[in-house]
């Protein structure tokens, strides 16, 4: 810590985090509602919805797993799909090692529990920003992550209630791929990720008849391979390739 640069207090840092994530939370609401609706569509109930949202706490993975269970997939398929989708969080964990280096194990566990895209991205951005007042890193992250956690829990429960009361004629289930589509678009940022998406989509469609949701997993692996190979070639040949 540089001498003479005041760091915000714990409560101020936490509030700063909550404020930083507030606009994102608006976008999380429909996503959380879908996570609740999909539980009802799969023939499960409120306890399962709460179980997923508190024990797994990972939007895309929850929704995909529940959707698979609803289509009759065996447990291991849903589990494997959820794990593949959540593997990216390993990167987030690695990137927070330095910012959280001085913290106790209990505090690092608290960080890990709510570690997902927004708490990671917003916190890392704030820590690196010299133009804003310095925050207590752990408290800022707690402000971001646990605000998100709270909104997620509330919206999942609301989604279950909504899903149970909307008439069957309304295809709310179609909201699931739509929610994923809304997440897919910002994840494609360059040619390698575009290649990953196109190959992933193509292979998954072709391989869809495979049992045990293998089509999706084969598609995901193919997409990751295609993207990673393209990224590697660009790293080796330089950004101005052929």
């Amino acid at each position: 810590m540089e001498a003479g640069v005041p760091t915000l207090s714990a409560s101020r840092s936490a509030l700063a985090g909550a404020r930083e994530v507030a606009p994102v939370l608006l976008g999380i609401i429909p996503f959380g509602l879908v996570a609740g609706v999909v539980v009802v569509e799969a023939g499960l109930g409120l306890p399962e919805a709460v179980g997923f949202s508190t024990i797994v706490f990972a939007g895309a993975a929850q929704i995909a797993a529940i959707d698979l269970l609803g289509s009759g997939s065996p447990a291991w398929v849903a589990i494997l799909t959820a794990i593949v989708i959540n593997l990216r969080m390993m990167m987030y964990s690695a990137s927070l090692v330095v910012p959280m280096a001085g913290e106790s194990r209990a505090r690092r566990l608290a960080v890990a529990y709510v570690l997902t895209d927004q708490p990671y991205a917003l916190s890392v951005a704030r820590y690196a920003n010299p133009d804003r007042p310095a925050v207590d890193r752990w408290w800022f992250y707690v402000g971001v992550g646990y605000s998100l956690w709270l909104v997620w829990q509330i919206c999942t429960v609301l989604g279950v209630l909504v899903g149970a009361s909307v008439p069957d004629a309304v295809p709310l289930g179609f909201g699931v791929p739509l929610a994923f589509l809304a997440l897919l678009v910002p994840s494609v940022t360059d040619r390698p990720t575009l290649a990953a998406a196109v190959v992933g989509a193509g292979v998954a469609v072709v391989a869809a008849p495979l049992p045990a949701n293998a089509g999706m997993l084969v598609g995901a692996v193919s997409g990751v391979t295609a993207g990673a190979l393209l990224a590697r070639r660009r790293r080796i040949t330089g950004p101005v390739g052929r």
Binding site: A60, M100, L183, A196, A228
Partner: protein, 108 residues
């Protein structure tokens, strides 16, 4: 095994696995060492590939058949445009569902 039991098995196992992933480096940084550029790139590709692999069959395959000009694929294309322009999950879902309801009326 009842669906509820299956669901809880998925919840607990996925939960443990996910928490392990999340705490991997945070708890064991010294034992993991640095993440190589290759590993980083592979991890970076996962959201795009996994999400696309989830979306495409759900929109392009109806009852096991490949379909490109039906209500769902077209509604999906509209939703993709909305997602690209607005970056809003809410609008993507609302427009997409309205589109699929409308198109199912119009198309046979």
């Amino acid at each position: 095994m009842s669906p509820i039991t299956t669901a809880w098995i998925v919840i607990v196992v996925s939960g443990i696995a996910t928490f392990s992933i999340r705490s991997s480096f945070l708890l064991f940084a010294d034992r993991f060492g640095e993440v190589s550029a290759d590993t980083r790139e592979v991890l970076r590709m996962i959201p795009a590939a996994a999400l696309a692999a989830l979306v495409a069959p759900a929109i392009l395959r109806v009852d096991g058949q490949l379909q490109v000009f039906g209500p769902r694929p077209i509604a999906g294309a509209i939703a993709l445009a909305v997602a690209y322009v607005t970056r809003s999950i809410l609008w993507t879902i609302v427009v997409g569902i309205l589109a699929v309801i409308g198109l199912e009326f119009v198309l046979p």
